[in-house]
Amino acid sequence: MTTQTTPHEGEMTVTFVETDEQQQLRGMLRDFLGSRATSERVREVMQTDAGVDDAAWKELGEYGLLGLTVPEAHGGAGSTFVELAIVVEEAGKRLLPVPLLSSAVLGTTVLQRAGTSQQLQRWLPDVATGATRLALAHLDERGRLTADPGVRATRDGDGWRLTGTAGYVIDGHTADLLLTAAVTDDGLALFAVPGDAAGLSREPLPALDLTRPLATLRFDGVHVDAEAALTGGDPITALHDGIAAGVVALACEQVGGAQEVLSTTTAYARERIQFGRAIGSFQAVKHRLAEDLVKLEAARSAALHAARAIAAGDRQEIAIAAPMAKALCSEVYETIAADGIQLAGGIGFTWEHDAHLYFKRAKATKLLLGDPHLHRRLLGDVLSL
């Protein structure tokens, strides 16, 4: 290592120091989630058809935590993505089954980038309280992100007619407003389609991770009015920004989950006795946990930095920090969650132990919004490698 400290030219100033307010936010969330998102509660919710903890969602809205990145003029808190990332990370620790990613991150970002001022006025205040839940439908039926999103929109009088299928929509069957990418004769466009629109059917997908529901949306000639077209910004940029925010939020969620698993596993290794000693005193166990800690700290650095890049709106840095965080945090979470099962032994393989919930969340988040290979490829393109 060298002692050079000069940052690269054009590199944003890197800092990780949390403000007192941010620390208070963390503390408050820990209290709230500790009592509300218990293992029993999460399991209860994940067996329901909707798969959403409505009560917890409502309370988060009342605390003002669902419109953190929404400006005050539109009923939000006017905070930054750093605060939102804290909520996501803490929620990730408890596997809280609420549409944070779909609505507060993906939906809110895309809507803010693509909506006209009237549209923002009309929808954002309810999004900020949680009364309106957004979901983003941008993948085709097989979950691929392609130039042709699987839905086609044609002019229909004053409004539009949507036909086709969007797949793998996170919280797609419970959202109130579906931000749907569709091809038109003039290229890609975005529409805000009400969840109860005639001709729209929504089927939940049997999901690996029961704590994060997915749905297939079938548009069978769904008519929407002209006001449904989001025409306030370039739809491709809006989608791009929304996905980048989602990618970084997932990385933060992964750090939260990995931290929780590592803490639980470490606590278990302190208590579980075999051969007359705590298993954590055996180096095979101790060293594995130490390695996991090393990985976790690196992942945390990457995720926090990416969140700050989004908050700073530094596009150049986001293009590096976001894929980097997603690739690294995905792999770290998967490793730590897998070790969580292994180091708990037989009990770790049972349904009643929570290890599998985190393991499934880890795998699902690894694949959602692009797997590590894809993100490394994207990063390579940015770095011209």
Partner: protein, 396 residues
């Protein structure tokens, strides 16, 4: 407070630059002036190379000196003195010792080495057997040390000895500064995997050390040695290199010389790039946390991560070279270098040198024990030597 500190540092920098333009002043002279202006270790008290301000200003001082065309390579030339010895002297030395040693240390007029490890005591440092026996105001030292970096250039050595074999191992140690030119000190080169001899064996045959060269109390050598090792880790963890520099730069360069058609290699390269950058960010986090007085686990994970990652990346860079990977440009020279090879610019040498990263300054296994026990709070190993006199413990 911090604006005052900034002004204080700024005033000293201005005064230093005015009297000793960094680009035009010979290195040792400049470093001496830097010391006199309190800019050697800014956090040290005035008079012994510091200003008594927050250590965070040191990075700024270094940056400014380099920007003005000056050099901070004394930190590498005298890495064991400036990085580890100075902090030890400040914490446990007498004022007289500090005034005698710190300035010539900083100017590199007197190089320092660390005489801790022995053939029978590496990871288990407290097991060491080099003895020091008191005769009036003098200590007579006998024994052998090993793997002592830069001992061939050193004027002074940081030495830990056994002064009482009848108490448990940690209790019977005493710490000294030893004159490497004293009679009975024999330094022999020890060639390494790279063909260089950065380190040495050092033999002590009835070496006399005056009691005034003792650091800390008799029997308190372990505490003093711990300070040295803590400083070593801070020296490693506190450094933040620019994005994309170091080992990953070698790998990137090697990749650019391929035809770029292997997607697996590209994926691996980017995986390493990401890890290197995440580690760099972690070092920034660790620095911030330390400066705020709330150090977290990130400081302790950095050394382990760096050691293992540096080995992996330098090895991967050689893989990328294909046929060229089996060459060793420049050949094995069998020299005794004036610097540790850590900063080598040659990827082949960097690859070989990296093997040491998980051994020097505490092996990765020991680092994992420390992380597991001190940070994660896992129980320690069963101890067979805890309440046993050093004399009665088995050794190899």
């Amino acid at each position: 407070m911090s604006t005052d500190e900034r002004e204080q540092v700024e005033a000293q920098l201005q005064a230093l630059f005015a009297a000793h333009p960094p680009a035009d002043t010979p290195e040792p002279e400049f470093w001496g002036a830097q010391f006199d202006h309190g800019l050697a270790w800014v956090q040290f008290p005035e008079g012994v190379g510091g200003l008594g301000v927050s250590p965070r200003w040191q990075a700024e001082v270094n940056r400014r000196i380099e920007a003005a065309g000056g050099s901070i390579r004394n930190r590498y030339l005298n890495i064991l003195g400036i990085g580890m010895g100075a902090g030890t002297l400040l914490a446990h030395g007498t004022e007289e010792q500090q005034r005698r040693f710190l300035r010539p240390m900083f100017t590199t007029e007197e190089i320092w080495c660390q005489l801790f490890s022995e053939p029978g005591a590496g990871s288990d440092l407290a097991a060491l057997s080099t003895t020091a026996v008191r005769e009036g105001d003098t200590w007579i030292v006998n024994g052998q040390k090993v793997w002592n970096t830069l001992a061939h250039l050193a004027k002074w050595g940081l030495l830990v000895t056994r002064t009482d074999p009848d108490v448990p191992k940690h209790a019977g140690l005493t710490y000294f500064v030893v004159d490497m030119e004293a009679e009975g000190v024999d330094v022999r080169p020890l060639y390494q995997i790279t063909g260089e001899a950065e380190f040495n064996e050092v033999y002590f045959d009835d070496v006399h050390i005056p009691d005034s060269m003792r650091i800390g109390a008799v029997g308190e050598g372990w505490t003093v040695a711990m300070t040295t090792l803590m400083n070593e880790r801070v020296a490693i963890g506190g450094n933040v290199a620019p994005r994309g520099s170091g080992a990953i730069a070698h790998a990137v360069e090697a990749w650019k010389r391929t035809d770029g058609s292997d997607p697996v290699a590209r994926d691996q390269l980017l995986g390493y790039w990401i890890e290197a950058e995440a580690l760099r960010l972690t070092a920034i986090r660790a620095g911030e946390a330390a400066r705020r007085g709330t150090p977290g686990p990130e400081g302790s994970t950095a050394k382990l991560h760096w050691a293992d990652l540096n080995k992996a990346i330098t090895s991967f860079a050689i893989d990328l070279m294909g046929p060229e990977g089996v060459t060793y440009p420049g050949g094995y020279e069998f020299v005794r270098p004036e610097l540790t090879a850590t900063r080598t610019e040659d990827p082949h040498k960097a690859f070989l040198r990296a093997r040491a990263n998980s051994i020097e300054g505490g092996t990765s296994e020991i680092m994992k024990n420390i992380l597991g026990e001190r940070v994660l709070g896992l129980p320690g190993e069963p101890r067979v030597d805890k309440n046993v006199a050093w004399r009665d413990v088995p050794r190899s």
